[in-house]
């Protein structure tokens, strides 16, 4: 589904991603771990094709199409969806306008908004005055309405209380049960893994994928020994 080959990405003159290789297979949920500043969000933004994330080397291939020179909306139309870590606030643009753009079925929008407790937010300016949890719910709401084949989730659970993680986790799990849907998920807390079955995990250090393996095992070892120890470990699955 997604193949990243020898990718190097520069942001404001600094090389953040360095010759990175990564595959996310069709139907697979991949967890991306890594300390702050390791380049996880940069990777996701480069996959989206955001301005300022310039590819210096390598290629990003999605559904056998090279994305490098495609605009963000073209990548979205191919089937990539993102849940932003820090979504912007836009005065005058209402959540329902985006929802209706993403999905023609008003009834479906209404039901899904109820499920995520967003009925009252539909006619408000997007993210203005939303709490952290409300923003994340609104992000999930939009990206699921979009029905992408590859979900890029940048810390979906940060700032969300336990109850809401449950609601969101269930929705994500239901969505990803579909064998054709894949996900690349950045998580620090690991909570989201309690609600969905992740297939593989990988750890990122200094702009590279360091190792790959069972996501729960990786998370347990990070919890136990921290990233410093994790970096020292040359696991058999280490990506060369």
């Amino acid at each position: 589904m997604l193949e990243i080959r020898n990718l190097s990405v520069e942001v404001a003159g600094n090389l953040i991603i360095k010759n990175l290789n990564l595959d996310v297979r069709r139907g697979e949920t991949m967890i991306l771990f890594g300390p702050n500043g390791s380049g996880k969000t940069t990777l996701i933004k480069a996959i989206m094709g955001f301005e300022g994330y310039s590819i210096k080397e390598g290629e990003i291939i999605f559904k056998e199409k090279k994305l490098n020179s495609l605009s963000t909306e073209e990548r979205v139309k191919l089937g990539i969806g993102i849940m932003h870590q820090h979504p912007v606030k836009i005065r005058g643009v209402k959540l329902h306008q985006i929802a209706e753009f993403l999905c023609p079925d008003r009834e479906k929008i209404k039901k899904f908004a109820e499920q995520l407790f967003l009925e009252e937010h539909m006619h408000r300016d997007i993210n203005i005055g939303f709490s952290g949890g409300e923003m994340k719910r609104a992000e999930l709401f939009q990206v699921i309405l979009q029905e992408p084949d590859l979900l890029l989730l940048d810390e979906p659970e940060s700032g969300v209380d336990i109850e809401n993680i449950g609601i969101m986790g269930k929705i994500l799990n239901d969505y990803l049960k579909n064998k054709d849907k894949s996900a690349l998920i950045i998580t620090h807390t690991g909570y989201i893994m309690d609600y969905l079955s992740a297939d593989r995990g990988c750890v990122m250090f200094e702009g590279r994928i360091w190792c790959m393996g069972n996501p729960k095992e990786i998370f347990e070892s990070i919890k136990k020994a921290g990233y410093l120890k994790c970096k020292e470990c040359y696991a058999p699955q280490r990506v060369k």
Binding site: T72, V76, V88, G92, V93
Partner: protein
Amino acid sequence: MRHRELNEILKSEDKDSVTSAGIDLSEKTRSASFLQEDNMVKFYKSKMEGVEILGMEEALRRYPETKEYFGSNFKLLNREYPEDTEGGYYIRVSKNRVVDLPIQACLFLKRAKFSQKVHNIIIVEEGAKVYLITGCASSKSANEGFHLGISEFFIKRGGHLNFTMIHSWKEDVSVRPITIALMEEEATFVSNYICLKPVKDVVMYPTAILKGEKAKAIFNSLILAHPYSFLDIGSRVILKGENTQAEIVSRGVSLGGKIIARGHLKAENKNVKAHLECRGLILSEKGTIHAIPEMESDYRDVDMSHEAAIGKINKDEIEYLCSRGFTKEEAQAIIVRGFMDVEILGLPDLIKREIENLEEKTLKGSF
């Protein structure tokens, strides 16, 4: 009147421009209608008791007391006014009459190089409530046209007037509206100005005089300045009565044209409350927006404030919408539409939707 229906008057090629100024040619959603083409009053008809609508000359003939109103607001401010006007509308809404469907008045410029000069009078009697849409438009043939529109409003005790002026000119037409509203106790005046089409220049500084206690004036404007358009749009409120209130909200977007957004709040009594807000978006490197807010008071017990902000669209906002599948152009259009928020106009749903549709149509063709 030669014509029985508004729809019969205009040539088919002119119907679109008039419709784009908010005029309903079927008259179905309007309680009264007026049309003047160049210097000729062509149509006036009221479908509602208590709403009188006439051409100005006819009104002066039929009701001698109209002369007392004519020019009186200018005298109040010691100002001169052009006397070489022809036509204009006269609207009078009788006491306690609540008019749900709006009244519409259309001032249409047809001939090339013609100077249309009108003088309008609106009298809202005690306790009456009315919505008025004035649509000003020009035909494709009206090259280098000129429009001068003098409007004098008289809103009596407890009266409520929502006046929405929609301009739909073309790039070589010059426009000079001059408006003075006089308001008695507890009267409310909402003045909305909408200009989304190209125009050569518009210079206006409508003024509301809040003479009576607890009167309230609100001026809103939504302005789109196309390349080479010059729009010098102000709003002035003189708060003469005690406990009067004023609000001026201006939203201007420059696609390359120049906008001067003026506002002037003058407190001449105590316990007045007034706020002025100006926001501008510049979408082209050639665009200019100049905000000039002014406030003055001779009294201590007043609450007056202003805020102004000018800038471009935040690129993160565009990027966010692109990450949902919008193209850059679509993202820009939806942000500008949100910025030019029709909600601020205080209109009933019917007219609000009409204006939203106009906005959508214009913005679609602008990016």
